[in-house]
């Protein structure tokens, strides 16, 4: 920054000369817009739940039904995000690296969970995995695993809706990866496993973390696709978003906002940690 320029003293230390001016305008607009669309509604949530007072708030927060719903929501979202990260990276790899008939169709199919109304996905999954559905019967008779109406089912639905997030964030990064680095790695004597784990994956880590975070966030907030397959048994397969809806239907707005606030805080904390991890991985692996 050329702070030595006479009028440089006036410029704030955030400001940088650029061929595209408009720092003030664009930042102002961004803040105003974010406030209007995100921050003010969320603040309203906080204020609304604050009308409860601490005791009532804690009573709702530690209500066993609420804690088990929160546990399920975050636990299932976490498991689903982990599974999606592993298989999403694999799907992205196959789509980027190999040419095979039907590749474009497969590529397009990855986006379907984005495009479908989540209720449709929920009904489809429920039909297949319910105890009397074809997959449900097969899984139960073969492995003794019940998918429909259990936390398994919830996780299954979250895997379904979260997959495209990982694939779509990892795919472009994979496409950018330079084949030559792999070739160098081979000439230097590294086997395939070493090349994948030491050369390719570290470069993709920030993108993988982003995909994980998106898939996780989507899983926490998911509602439509889960409620059909879960059949929402309290303490077993009832997710927190559904509990909020139930409270709303009971006109218990304060209770609903209390649960929402708890979800908000936990989600924010987790996403914040993931972001930190990402920043750390970028730095550690020399992306910046």
């Amino acid at each position: 920054m050329s702070a030595s320029a006479p009028d440089g003293a006036r410029a704030s230390r955030w400001r940088r000369r650029s061929v595209l001016p408009g720092f003030g305008l664009s930042l102002g607009y961004t803040i105003a817009y974010l406030s209007l669309v995100v921050l003010i509604p969320l603040a309203g949530l906080g204020i609304r739940s604050a009308t409860l007072g601490w005791n009532e708030f804690w009573a709702i927060a530690f209500d066993p039904r609420v804690t088990s719903a929160l546990e399920l929501s975050f636990g299932a979202a976490m498991v689903a995000a982990i599974i999606n990260t592993i298989f999403g990276v694999l799907v992205a790899w196959v789509l980027v690296r190999y040419k095979f008939p039907g590749r474009r169709w497969l590529d397009a199919a990855v986006d379907l969970p984005f495009a479908l109304p989540t209720a449709v996905a929920g009904i489809a999954l429920a039909t297949l995995y319910a105890p009397n559905g074809p997959f449900g019967i097969a899984l139960e008779s073969l492995f003794g695993v019940k998918v429909g109406f259990t936390s398994f089912g919830v996780t299954m639905a979250l895997i379904f809706v979260g997959l495209p997030f990982v694939v779509r964030t990892v795919q472009p990064v994979l496409e950018e990866i330079d084949r030559e680095t792999e070739e160098v790695s081979a000439t230097l004597g590294a086997g395939r496993w070493r090349t994948v784990t030491r050369v390719i994956l570290p470069g993709m880590l920030p993108a993988i973390l982003t995909g994980f975070a998106l898939s996780f966030a989507r899983g926490v907030g998911e509602y439509g696709s889960v409620i059909f397959i879960a059949s929402n048994l309290p303490y077993v397969s009832e997710i927190a978003p559904l509990l909020i809806v139930i409270k709303l239907e009971e006109h218990n707005y304060a209770g609903a906002t209390a649960i929402a606030t708890i979800m908000l805080v936990i989600s924010f904390a987790m996403l914040f940690v993931i972001n930190l991890l990402q920043a750390w991985s970028r730095k550690w692996f020399g992306h910046e």
């Binding site: 330079d178 030559e180 070739e183 160098v184 000439t187 230097l188 004597g189 692996f285 020399g286």
Partner: protein, 373 residues
């Protein structure tokens, strides 16, 4: 380690990238593969490394068929034009990569560290071992890439346009420095380049390639002084081409005799290839070829004159001393004191149109397909 490629052919989508090419690189030799892009030089290099599989032909490392071993076990140090450094690793980890990847007799971590420091010293990058590649300049990155390749003590060092992405000055420095490293370490080295200056300056032997075939394989002097084919003549150095007629063992231009040996060329049309130093201005009033000056430009201590000569107004270029004033549209007489005559059947490098203004860069650009004139 002697490297021998025998009868290598490789096709890409019905186009021959390599057409029955054979090449031997002696142990400790520094050889340049020179040619325009699309000449197959990189494909040949990658085939030797094991990164490409030839359609036919065999690569021998000493007397072993290289196809018997995996790329990982061939022990080739490969350096790419765009460095291909591992971006997420520090310089020291980049260089140590090959040593750490070893399965058999993997050195101790302390020994690896010593080796890395030694190599950093060799490539003159001591003190930068903690940097990431993104914090280095292009020349530094390429030196890291070279150190990384040298770390595995390769049996052959293969470099694919190693200085192609660097600016002219750095390129010159690194060239000299690579020569020094080669002399010190004595690795059998094969490098690809499209820069003739680089090839002639650096290599013990230059292999000129065109269209998937080797045109000539010889020392830099031989390549420049006795080019085997019209292609080599025009690809190396500056050249002008004029059509001549061969009869009775002599060449004539517009029925004027040119004092040149034509060997045993059959009678008929032929082409005379000239370097700027093959043409001299006639100042003593003797016989010469008349011509009209088209343009002049200053090159170092000389003046490069472009002249139209002969009835068909062929453009040739020659050097005149800078102190002799020459103006555009001036009439001159020149004498041809060198050059080579190639038979019409021999395929040349189409330079005639370009000869007027062909600096080597321009010619190179044409060879690269940037200019399709």
């Amino acid at each position: 380690m002697q490297v021998r490629a025998e009868n290598i052919s490789k096709n890409y989508a019905s186009m021959a990238a390599l057409d029955d090419v054979s090449l031997t690189v002696q142990s400790g030799e520094l050889v340049a593969l020179l040619g325009p892009s699309g000449s197959g030089k990189t494909t040949l290099l990658r085939t030797i490394a094991g990164l490409e599989t030839p359609d036919s032909g065999v690569v021998y490392f000493n007397d072993r068929d290289a196809a018997e071993s995996r790329i990982q076990d061939r022990g080739v140090g490969f350096v790419f034009q765009h460095y291909a450094l591992f971006k997420h690793m520090r310089v020291m980890d980049n260089i140590a990569f090959g040593l750490r990847a070893r399965r058999k007799n993997k050195p101790k971590e302390a020994d690896i560290k010593n080796k890395v420091m030694e190599l950093l010293d060799l490539v003159q990058l001591s003190g930068l071992e903690k940097r990431f590649p993104s914090q280095l300049s292009g020349g530094q990155r390429q030196r890291v890439a070279l150190a990384r390749a040298l770390a595995i003590e390769p049996s052959v060092l293969l470099l694919d346009e190693p200085f192609g992405a660097l600016d002219a000055r750095v390129r010159k420095d690194l060239r000299r420095w690579l020569r020094e490293i080669h002399e010190r370490t004595g690795h059998t080295t094969l490098f690809v380049t499209h820069d003739q200056e680089e090839a002639l300056e650096l290599a013990d032997r230059v292999v000129v390639m065109s269209k998937g075939k080797i045109e000539q394989s010889a020392t830099p002097d031989e390549i420049y002084d006795t080019p085997a084919t019209p292609f080599v003549f025009s690809f190396i150095g500056e050249s002008s081409v004029i059509p001549v007629v061969v009869g009775n063992g002599r060449a004539t231009l517009d029925e004027r005799l040119i004092d040149l040996q034509v060997g045993n060329l059959p009678d008929g049309p032929a082409q005379l290839f000239l370097r700027p130093e093959d043409v001299a201005m006639v100042t003593d009033g003797g016989p010469g070829i008349p011509g009209l000056v088209v343009s002049t430009r200053r090159i170092g201590g000389n003046r490069r004159v472009t002249m139209e000569c002969g009835l068909a107004r062929h453009r040739i270029e020659f050097d005149a001393p800078a102190e002799v004033p020459i103006a555009n549209s001036q009439r001159l007489q020149v004498r041809i004191i060198g050059g080579r005559v190639y038979g019409a059947g021999e395929e040349g490098y189409e330079t005639e149109k370009l000869a007027a203004s062909a600096t080597s860069d321009f010619k190179w650009a044409k060879a690269e397909g940037w200019l399709d004139r």
